[in-house]
């Protein structure tokens, strides 16, 4: 199982609590994880990636295993610890404090 953490507002939108768990067939990449996420929770389509370009929305970042994966290719395999379920794949919103 792939573990995925999404921002609070998206959890509300998807009617879920806590960390999500997804079954993702190999290869486990940003694209296949997000495909699986949107298939299970269609209301999230367009909220993380643009509908048409499939590009990450500007105010979101992708982290895992203490690394910033935001600018990694969408089809690059994710770290082994994400694939094994040891670490979550994190979708993080840009901080807007003040």
């Amino acid at each position: 199982m792939i573990r995925v953490e999404i921002p609070g507002h998206l959890k509300t939108l998807a009617h879920v609590d806590g960390e999500l768990q997804l079954e993702v067939a190999a290869p486990v990449t940003q694209r296949t994880v997000l495909d699986a996420l949107e298939a299970k929770y269609p209301m999230l389509r367009g909220t993380i990636r643009d509908h048409v370009t499939q590009q990450r929305r500007p105010y979101l970042r992708f982290f895992a295993c203490q690394e910033d994966l935001s600018f990694e290719p969408a089809d690059k395999p994710l770290p082994d610890d994400v694939v094994s379920g040891k670490e979550p794949f994190l979708v993080i919103g840009a901080v807007a404090g003040g």
């Binding site: 507002h9 509300t12 939108l13 299970k40 993380i48």
Partner: protein, 392 residues
Amino acid sequence: MSGVRVLVGTKKGAFILTSDGKREKWDVQGPLFAGWEIYHMKGSPADPKRIYASQTSAWFGQMIQRSNDGGKTWETPGGEKMPQPGEFPSGANNKFVYDTSAETGKPMTTHQWYDGTPHPWEFKRVWHVEPSLTDPDKVYAGVEDAAMFVSTDGALSWHELAGLRGHGTGMKWQPGAGGLGLHTILLDPKNPNRIYIAISSAGCFRTDDGGKTWKPINRGLKSQYIPDPNAEVGHCVHRIALHKSKPDTLFMQKHWDVMRTDDAGENWREVSGNLPTDFGFVIDVHAHEPETIYVVPIKSDGEHYPPEGKLRVYRSRTGGNEWEALTKGLPQANCYVDILRDSMAVDQLDKCGVYFGTTGGQVYCSPDGGDNWQAIVHDLPAVLSVEVQTLP
């Protein structure tokens, strides 16, 4: 006794305020969609239980929410959980894609940026939703960057009415300070093929064939902030309004100037009259008196609050030019809120109720056409829009 349902969009969620016909005691529901900007909510005239809401976020983009029970529960059309893995709904409520097909016009690729240079068209958000007068599943959306979309399946899928951007002046449109937003959609109750829209800061446009073709209707507007003050487009129209019995008469609050037309926008004339300032955002028409109109004057384009710190609604019973200040129940000292363009509405009860919301989080109601006011709520997030449903 009949009642009212006031739909309030704010910077941090939506609220629904309900009352009976007396409009004295209110029930407050919300926040709905907590934390999200709700630019606008509006109910279907054909089915008051059907309500559409524009839910938006700089982080997560645009959603359209839909209620089928008067706002008690909500759904994202096309975004429901699918019973079978791998099944996808046929649409997506938040998919607003500009039309680039050769068949449906000559789609613009750029509009003007603030500095006059070409800038690519980019979808940002839905400013306004306007349900059809007759079909609960048909709804229009005015978006930023300015374009008009329509859904005929209850907001499950959207397509652009590309003739608006493609009619010829789109490349000259320029954003106002708040963006290049299509913020007003008025459906002609007597002519189903006629629609008026307004864009900041391009001006007003009209279609007479249900949205296929459009033309600017800005003759008579004068704007000193553009190179040619009488230009065909480029005017920062803040809001327009009409009365259902006289749909050829429109009233306009422009950046500066309050205007009216009696020939469906072919010619406009100024009716600012004795207003203390003719800058403002909102304008609306009494439900039963087509020549009674309301504005809330704002000091200036640089100081978005009431002049002298006194919150005053101005009413004209003569269709403009002669205005009276309405102050009973409104703060008359140290008030520095703004009233944004979609934040005024009227109900249809015998004594027409008038409503407006402020950036300070108040929603005011006058149950008697503006003579007396009360704050329904004092401390909501900044109010972006107010609409009213009159319930049987």
